[in-house]
Symmetry: C2
Subunit: 394 residues, 2 copies
């Protein structure tokens, strides 16, 4: 009975708050999110980063809102008002970018007030939560590089593939200058636009270069999925076996197509000392699976919440054709083995610790960074890039 | 009664067809659209370009599909099968790209099987219908230019703005070469990504350059909306007064910010003889409103289904400070006044005819092109660009 009263009281309170809001009095503290599409009043964010969402759906029977870790991983019910709008307030959200969506009578619907981003294997809405005192990922009054949509035909997959290529601010002026290259990989269910759109990678690198914290570099963001021509689609599972299998074709595409194409198309320094590879989640795993087989191509590695699970390092002496067996040789060749995770994504923090412990047991040097108060989400990876990029090519 | 029987018969037939399809037998003629996101089986297209759409929505009460002209401007009901999937077949669609969406219990929902594109003022699904015998807008085995995401701070609007800039295939190699520039504007409810994403402009220009039909050029695609810093948002209406008012700030942004920024950032030929402006629908109107005031900046103009209505040319002798009054001088300065429309968008065909007639009455030369069998939609504008670009900078 007590629980019922508490619940009824909550409903009444929510109803009262929304009726107040409907009359335009109590939502004064809420302002449209910076990520809203032009002219959209909702979603709105309060000073404590609570998020007020609204969807017009007069005929719907049940509407929920759900989002990623740091926003609302558990669905929250919206309440219908007399005008046919459904409303909810998501309590204090975590910093940075989060995916979110509505469920309208069981169907997933993106908020028309927000833009969509490719996540969860489909276009998915997203919102930018303010991060007081942290602006390394914002556009600032510094010289800006370009992010280029670059198409190339892949004989291995039999398809045109699209990569995004960041060229640094001075690239247009110093037309004889050659640049090192970071290959930066996205996560499962995302695509080659993730790092520039959700990740704000160009602003992060622009700001680091302007602050003389990172050297000017080219950054290549390709699609993390590759299926060989005429082969059945790569397994979509998340088992280590499925992910490893899916990475085999991608490895061929990197070695035989992406890297040669980039070296041909842009003013790169085409040497292992000037090439880095890093990725988030699935992309972190791919960095391990592809990178460790190709020390002749890369000398810096970043694993951002890398999905490095299972037996990949179980027998590290024999893994990757024994690349870790001679620690002195490995440490000489590889300038950086960098692991990152968000403090809130505990299983990935454990993967970082386990991986580093295993490498340490073999005498392989590595370093790590934990992003405070973030989860398996873009704000972790934005911070990762901001910490990682300054260590490259020096 | 006869109509009832016909209707009942149709329902039974549709039900039978879908039950056959559910058992995997009768949809053999349908293949996933080329525009589907990776791994999505639906929407599917038949040999006669009928479109089979499906949405999983077991709890929904009513589901419709609707799209742009050339697809299904009038909503079509979907029929629920025993597995909770709703199905419909849209009869023979027109060529090229079309926007479309579902209405689920009154809420607009994008098909999770298709990517989204910015249209109708929000992210909106789209599908690519095959166009037999017409491949000028497809990626081909020719050298490809890059489309660059280029950020700049606009003091006039007080905001960071994003432009997309196409640089031609030889731009990277001929590092001393300067290039002419086409400023290409999108339509109402769309944004600066429209021309590269929906329009395939890079493939169109790549193919024209490879075929030596167009000269290598830079193409700049900026956002068509601009609101002065601290001003209330520009009126969203579609009256001539609202659109003209909204274009005033954009004019300032073009003259004082976009064009100087592009001339500073890229290897342009910064002269009126090497500058063109063209736009579709609202962008065609803006090309008229901005361009005719600035013959000192541009010498080629394209109006693609240009929304040039009302009194803009009513008193053409005095319009735009009398720019049309001296025909000989105008014809000498302006190399091209090019009007285009799709044969199916009759009101725009009429606008083309009316505009040209008024200009002709003043002795102003112009030319026009009608795209056969297309409407107020991207396939019209893809063809427009393919016809227009070869006439530039020669």
């Amino acid at each position: 009975m007590k629980r019922f009263l508490t619940f009824a009281c909550l409903i009444l309170t929510v109803g009262f708050v929304f009726s107040q809001m409907a009359s335009g009095q109590s939502d004064a503290g809420f302002k449209p999110a910076s990520s809203n599409i032009q002219g959209a009043d909702f979603p709105k964010i309060s000073a404590d980063n609570s998020v007020y969402v609204r969807l017009k759906a007069p005929d719907a029977v049940k509407v929920l809102v759900q989002g990623g870790d740091g926003l609302c991983p558990k669905p929250i019910d919206l309440v219908k008002d007399s005008t046919g709008n459904w409303n909810a307030i998501i309590p204090a959200a975590g910093p940075g970018f989060h995916y979110y969506w509505f469920m309208v009578d069981g169907v997933r619907v993106n908020d028309p007030g927000s833009d969509t981003y490719f996540g969860y294997g489909r276009p998915t809405g997203g919102i930018e939560i303010p991060v007081p005192g942290e602006d390394f990922f914002q556009a600032k009054n510094v010289p800006h590089g370009d992010v280029r949509e670059h198409w190339y035909f892949s004989g291995i997959t039999g398809k045109w593939r699209r990569a995004f290529v960041y060229t640094p601010p001075d690239y247009e002026k110093n037309v004889r200058q050659l640049y090192p290259v970071l290959y930066l990989l996205h996560g499962a269910g995302e695509n080659e636009r993730g790092w520039s759109l959700q990740g704000h990678m160009s602003f992060i690198i622009d700001n680091l270069i302007a602050g003389k914290k990172a050297v000017p570099m080219i950054v290549v963001m390709d699609n993390g999925y590759a299926t060989a021509r005429d082969a059945p689609a790569a397994p979509a599972g998340f088992s280590m076996k499925d992910l490893s299998k899916a990475a085999e074709t991608l490895e061929q595409v990197y070695v035989k197509e992406i890297i040669p194409d980039i070296d041909l198309s842009y003013r790169t320094i085409p040497k292992r000392e000037s090439r880095a590879m890093a990725g988030l989640s699935m992309g972190g795993l791919q960095t391990m699976l592809i990178g460790m087989n190709h020390l002749e191509l890369f000398s810096y590695f970043g694993f951002f919440s890398g999905a490095i699970m299972g037996n990949i390092l179980e027998d590290p002496k024999t893994a990757f054709n024994g690349v870790f067996a001679d620690a002195a040789s490995f440490n000489k060749k590889v300038k950086l083995m960098w692991f990152g995770a968000g403090s809130g994504e505990t299983q990935f923090v454990k993967m970082v610790e386990d991986s580093r412990k295993k490498l340490e047991g073999l005498g392989i040097k590595s370093t790590s960074y934990i992003s405070h108060g973030t989860f398996h989400e873009w704000h972790t990876w934005r911070r990762d890039l901001n910490e990682f990029a300054p260590l490259l090519f020096k």
